[in-house]
């Protein structure tokens, strides 16, 4: 199957692009940048401390339970279960990392 031939260039688009965008004056551009930077004040980040402590508590409880389960199992079975638990922990960590990456900017 032969590839589809490229579409012919659009003359109107080429003509408009040759004209280019209108540029504001350099002085205006510099003044605008200064104003935006000067007036933009990032809001102080107020950490949600209760949530953070609750999260740590839950993680501690889950970790303790996992440790309890592993310690209660015979050595052979614990050896099989440990990699699965490690994978679950790493997976959860990965999801949390993705959430952190996708979080909208903290601005007000």
């Amino acid at each position: 199957m032969s590839p589809r031939p490229p579409a012919p260039p659009d003359p109107v688009k080429a003509l408009l692009q040759a004209q280019g965008l209108q540029q504001p004056s350099a002085a205006f551009s510099a003044a605008l940048t200064r104003q935006v930077v000067a007036r933009y004040a990032a809001p102080p980040t107020v950490p949600y401390r209760a949530g953070a402590w609750l999260g740590k508590l839950i993680l501690l409880a889950l970790g303790s339970l996992l440790g309890l389960v592993l310690s209660g199992l015979p050595r052979a079975e614990a050896g099989i279960l440990a990699p699965a638990l490690a994978a679950a922990v790493l997976g959860l960590g990965g999801v949390l990392w993705l959430f952190e990456q996708q979080r909208p900017p903290a601005a007000g």
Binding site: D10, P11, V12, K13, L15, L16, Q17, A18, Q19, G20, L21, Q22, Q23, P24, S25, F28, S29, A31, L32, T33, Q35, V36, V37, R39, Y40, A41, A42, P43, L98, Q101, Q102, R103, P104, P105, A106, A107, G108
Partner: protein, 194 residues
Amino acid sequence: MDFFQPPSADDLLLRQAGQGQPQALTQLVQRYQALAYTVAVRVVGNAEDAEEVVQDAFLKAFAALGQFRRAAKFSTWLYRIVYNTALTKKRAQGRPRELPLTPATPEPPATSGDGWAAVRHADQRKYLALALARLPPDDALVLTLHYLGEQSIAEMCTILGKKTSALKMQLLRSRQQLEAALIQLLPTDHQHLL
């Protein structure tokens, strides 16, 4: 929210801007000011008011950066603010649109091949500006956003607050009007331009 796509350059800049990093704020301003200014000029019709519009809109947009929920691209959101600010300014002007940015009278069109080459390279911008000035401002704006700003139909619908079908029709009509205006300006040589 798509977890499988890496954050775009805009996303990274927005995150850094959200933390108040001056470099990120500067880059965002530099990246979008030209099309914003062009949009403002198309609506209000003169450089002075356009600069005022861009300034107001950018300060407004950056002050409300925290309310930007990524339902659209940052540029789309910003251009919509610019467009609305320009419309408000135009209504407040209460007078017909001025066009001091375009040449007052066209030079006589060249007819020979060599003359045309000169027109093509030196006067192309001027004739195009004149042709665009003959279009209704809305139509010139649609052409600018789509062909120059490379905004998609969906993005333009968001910016201009129009429906897809209406916008497609307007884009088609604007193209035809631009071609007609160029034919009128350059009766013999327009085919070299288009």
